[in-house]
């Protein structure tokens, strides 16, 4: 076939195919499904780390595979990984493994459960490595299905409506996204991300669109933003989230908050900003308002919740709001080296935040799962008290995660937020200032949680609260170590990501 390019071994195809095959095996493995799934997950993690380690050092795409698929429609099987993608791959692999580890008490049909989890993982891998819109959109949509069924079949009491709302909402958001990208295809004849980015950065995209379709570039941008706004989510398109997160079984929530929400931010970075940078810059102010609202209201809403899962659901909204804040803030033509540096900082922060929040949030929900197991399903914030006495290790480790979420320096959560604010303040200081409120409220929320759950007197019924046993300890420890590591040595990630950041920014035009 002509036009085929592969740089060596098709690692990325392998990476995506692995969980799919694993799902098939898991489906027939009966009660060994979890075991199978974890092996596959571990393999996937290894491969993703290999990919991360072998990235091209200049920040361009590595591991490229290109095969024509339906040329008349501009559809190509085009995979590639740069720093951003590779980091997301690693994140997905880690969070998936965590989710599988957390799910050790699946009562019904564990084979189906783990098959779906693996399929979801495959969807994530596919989405993060796709460099052609059709391919990307395929995985974007496909990943919804395992998520839906995971919520629907193993979820809590109100899982039906939650799952449906999740699915329908996200798909409804996808339609304007699809239509907008179709418009772009119509105007340019291409669905290739890199090609389109080049067109946009040289300023040709808008004239081409105007030529073929009329002055609809802004509408196309809005369409694309709509799709991502639902996914991230951005307020006020977030209403599907609290129900979905709280009704889903906690391991599934780990996946939802750890990885699926990142798909939205990734989409912003891979599609929205490169192609529609100028339009976003035009709409910057209202978008910043939305982002700030998300940050602040997310935190406020978290403060008002009584269900721990909902607390952290809203808190996720808040944390991702920072990403969006940074994204919108950097959408401004850079007029000085200092601005460029701020943009780079902001972008680095976004990517780091994606990774760190993914890990941290997944951890938090893991802990909630453990909590629920021991409490027999109860997870109200007021139901507990003084748990650090009967379960000090539990309290300690969860404390790590909580503080990371709060943004304590030394833990991973701090780095991303720091860089974001470092970048946003010079670029949009009003938004940044208001967002600090979010930080404060978040801090209050976290501290309240700690206080209500772990501190204070121990009620009778929790006196026998079981602490973590060594198996769980062993599973959690690596992640905690990772959090500490990244918190203390963030350059481990930043060094891998920064070239990509520079590369991306060079091609973005506002």
């Amino acid at each position: 076939m002509n036009g085929v390019e592969t740089n060596g071994f098709p690692m990325l195809s392998l990476l995506t195919a692995l969980p799919i095959v694993g799902a098939g095996i898991a489906l027939v493995s009966g009660k060994y499904a979890r075991f199978v799934a974890m092996i596959v997950g571990a393999l996937a993690l290894v491969i993703s780390l290999v990919v991360w380690a072998h990235l091209p050092s200049d920040g361009s795409m590595g591991f490229v595979e290109r095969v024509p698929w339906a040329p008349s429609l501009g559809i190509e099987y085009n995979l590639g990984a740069d720093g951003l993608s590779a980091l997301m791959l690693v994140l997905s692999a880690i969070v998936a493994l965590m989710a599988m580890d957390a799910a050790h008490h699946v009562h019904r049909q564990p084979n189906l459960y783990f098959a779906l989890v693996l399929l979801l993982e495959a969807g994530l891998f596919g989405c993060f490595t796709a460099q052609n819109f059709f391919h990307w959109f395929l995985f974007w949509e496909l990943s919804l299905i395992p998520a839906f069924f995971l919520i629907k079949l193993w979820g809590g009491e109100k899982r039906g409506p939650a799952a449906t709302q999740f699915f329908v909402y996200t798909m409804a958001g996808s339609v304007p996204l699809l239509l907008s990208m179709l418009g772009v295809f119509l105007a340019t004849g291409s669905m290739d991300f890199q090609h389109l980015t080049l067109l946009a950065s040289s300023g040709e995209l808008e004239p081409m669109v105007a030529l073929h379709l009329g002055p609809v570039m802004l509408w196309l941008a809005i369409g694309v933003l709509a799709g991502f706004a639902v996914k991230v989510p951005l307020m006020p398109f977030h209403t599907w989230l609290p129900a979905a997160y709280s009704e889903a079984p906690s391991p599934v929530t780990m996946l939802l908050t750890g990885t699926m929400s990142k798909m939205g931010v990734y989409g912003m970075l891979r599609i929205a900003l490169p192609l529609f940078g100028m339009q976003i810059a035009q709409m910057r102010t209202p978008l910043l308002v939305l982002a700030v609202v998300t940050v602040v209201m997310g935190a406020w809403a978290a403060a008002a919740q009584k269900d721990l899962k909902r607390v952290f659901a809203y808190s996720s909204v808040n944390h991702l709001g920072y990403c969006m804040l940074a994204i919108f803030a950097l959408a401004v033509p850079a007029t000085s080296a200092a601005m460029q540096a701020s943009q780079a900082a902001a972008l680095n922060g976004v990517i780091l935040q994606m990774f760190n929040h993914g890990i941290t949030a997944a951890m938090l929900f893991w802990f909630i799962a453990l909590l629920q197991e021991r409490s027999g399903g109860i997870r109200g914030i007021d139901d507990f008290g003084g748990l650090r006495k009967p379960a000090p290790i539990f309290a300690g480790l969860m404390g790590f995660a909580l503080f990371s979420s709060l943004g304590l320096p030394g833990l991973n959560g701090f780095v991303g937020e720091f860089l974001i604010f470092r970048g946003v303040f010079p670029l949009a200081w009003v938004a940044a200032t208001v967002s600090v409120l979010g930080l404060l409220v978040t801090a209050a929320v976290i501290l309240t949680v700690i206080q209500k759950v772990f501190a204070g007197p121990v009620p009778e019924k929790w006196a026998g609260f079981q602490d973590l046993h060594w198996g769980e300890w062993l599973a959690l420890a690596p992640v905690i170590a990772l959090m500490l590591l990244i918190g203390l040595l963030p350059q481990l990630i930043v060094d891998g990501v920064n070239p990509t950041v520079v590369n991306l920014l060079a091609h973005w035009r506002f």
Binding site: W69, F139, E141, I145, K152, L153, F167, H212
Partner: protein, 502 residues
């Protein structure tokens, strides 16, 4: 070689009619054999002719004095649709495996219908096309009237009469075109080069388009479709929605648009924002998409949901046709294939796998049955089919709808936006049906516990599974590797647009 699909089917029908009455198994196996061989021929024909344009299969003078020839030919579009017919035929036989009442007559009518459909897709003489088109009407009537369910006699008669009226309209234009072109020939190619006066085309086009459009389920002439689909036995519904509606769309493309292209020119004045017949029919198509979806959303009978969804999906086909550009029409043809397969799948699951066992199609009753546990194959199968039907990437429907949307955007962005709305509603009604029928959390009905043996619903039989797998794989294959069909469709559409089937 492709002509053998027609002859074989009719021969099979005759054999079935003559089979001894009591032997249902024999009837089934004969039917399966005939349909599988037919499908094999269709595939062979498809593969062997890949890369070629229009291939003439047979051309014999029929009534020489009137210029009527028995002309069979196949271009890319025909080959794809013949392939679809083969698939639908095999799947239909498989999903009808349990019919005990007058089995041989059932398959006789079934195969006769299939033969007629093959004939339409392969005819390149307008008279011959019309003959095959009409031949298909009578078996439909009997299939529904004898083996159907809800209100079957009424539905069958309605279907037969609507189809007949549609074909009557086509007959009138056929006669007029024949006369206007000098009564030399009824060949499609000759007529398309006959340079019929524009004023003639201006009324011949809408008449023909509506005539065929009735069978294609064009709004507002679609009302036979939901009633018909619901009343028909499963295999007949599969064929009706899967293949017969495509006859109408094919007729719109092959006859109306090819013979009377100037009928789509602008009128010169604008009425309610519509400036040509093309605008009118595109708007009707879009209305069909949205209307079908909205009505499907509120149905209480499972089969009605799918019936209305067929109307909605055919709206996409008609919209694609009216875009008059390469991508749009290609998308329309691909959607014909895709929806043919998916409708077959959906009806197969609902009609055969579910209804046979639960004896109800009311969503309210199914809600209480927790079918995801008792019929997991059906539940997941429907989930997959439903998602494919709503246009999920990875299946054929997405590629087709993608192309139609692209094509329609070029023609008119507003149509695209409305179609997009239709897609969203499509997600909603599919999801609603899926939820309520299979995955609901409503507490089970009390009577379910009373009869202990109701816990176990009959296990899935191999014909059901094979039918499902056949169709599912087809849709998946086309979804993941659309070139398998696009490479055949695109050149044909290009030739069609360039100058009416040279």
């Amino acid at each position: 070689m492709l002509a053998w699909t027609i002859y074989l089917s009719f021969a099979g029908a005759l054999i079935e009619a003559l089979l001894p009455k009591g032997n249902a198994a024999l009837a089934r196996w004969v039917a399966l054999l005939v349909s599988v061989v037919g499908f094999g021929i269709a595939v062979a024909g498809f593969v062997s002719a890949a890369g070629q344009g229009r291939v003439v299969i047979a051309d014999a003078p029929w009534v020489l004095t009137m210029g009527i020839h028995y002309t069979l030919a196949a271009d890319g579009i025909s080959r794809v649709l013949v392939l679809l017919t083969g698939l639908a035929a095999v799947a239909g036989v498989l999903f009808s495996w349990n019919i005990e009442l007058r089995t041989n007559e059932f398959f006789a009518f079934f195969l006769a219908l299939i033969g007629g459909v093959y004939g339409v897709f392969l005819s390149f003489d307008l008279f011959l096309l019309f003959v095959f088109y009409e031949i298909a009407i009578v078996p439909k009537y009997f299939l529904i009237a004898i083996w159907g369910s809800t209100r079957r006699e009424y539905a069958a008669m309605k279907l037969a009469l609507y189809s007949f009226v549609g074909s009557a309209m086509v007959l009138v234009t056929l006669l007029a075109a024949y006369a206007a072109s000098g009564s030399h020939s009824t060949g499609l190619i000759e007529l398309s080069h006959a340079n019929l006066p524009v004023s003639f085309q201006m009324w011949a086009f809408p008449l023909t388009f509506i005539g065929f459009g009735i069978l294609a389920g064009m709004w507002p002439f679609h009302t036979w479709a939901p009633t018909g689909h619901v009343a028909a036995p499963t295999a007949a519904s599969m064929l009706l929605a899967g293949v017969v509606m495509k006859l109408g769309a094919y007729g719109c493309l092959r006859v109306a648009m090819t013979l009377f292209p100037h009928g789509m020119d602008a009128w010169g004045f604008s009425f309610l924002g519509l400036g040509s017949w093309r605008d009118v029919f595109a708007v009707l198509a879009v209305i069909g998409i949205v209307y079908g979806a909205l009505v499907a959303l509120v149905q209480t009978d499972f089969k009605f949901v799918i019936g209305y969804s067929s109307v909605s999906h055919m709206g996409f086909v008609l919209l694609g046709l009216m875009t008059l550009n390469q991508i749009g029409i290609t998308g329309a043809v691909l959607q014909m294939f895709s929806h043919g397969v998916l409708a077959g799948l959906l009806f197969g699951i609902v009609g055969r796998i579910v209804y046979e066992r639960t004896h109800t199609r009311q969503l309210a009753d199914l809600e209480k049955m927790h079918l995801s546990k008792r019929l997991p194959f059906a539940a997941w199968g429907f989930a997959v089919a439903g998602m494919a039907s709503m246009g999920l990437p990875g299946f054929s429907g997405f590629v087709a709808e993608l192309q139609v949307l692209i094509g329609s955007w070029t023609a008119n962005p507003w149509w695209t936006a409305a179609a997009g709305v239709g897609i969203i509603v499509g997600v909603a009604y599919t999801w609603r049906a899926l939820q309520r029928a299979f995955f609901s959390d409503v507490p089970p009905a009390p009577h379910v516990h009373e009869h202990g043996n109701e816990h176990e619903l009959a296990a899935l039989t191999w014909p059901e599974i094979s039918g499902f797998v056949l169709l599912g794989v087809a849709s998946l294959l086309v979804g993941l590797w659309p070139r398998v069909l696009l490479d055949t469709i695109e050149p044909a559409v290009k030739a069609l647009l360039a100058g009416g089937a040279q």
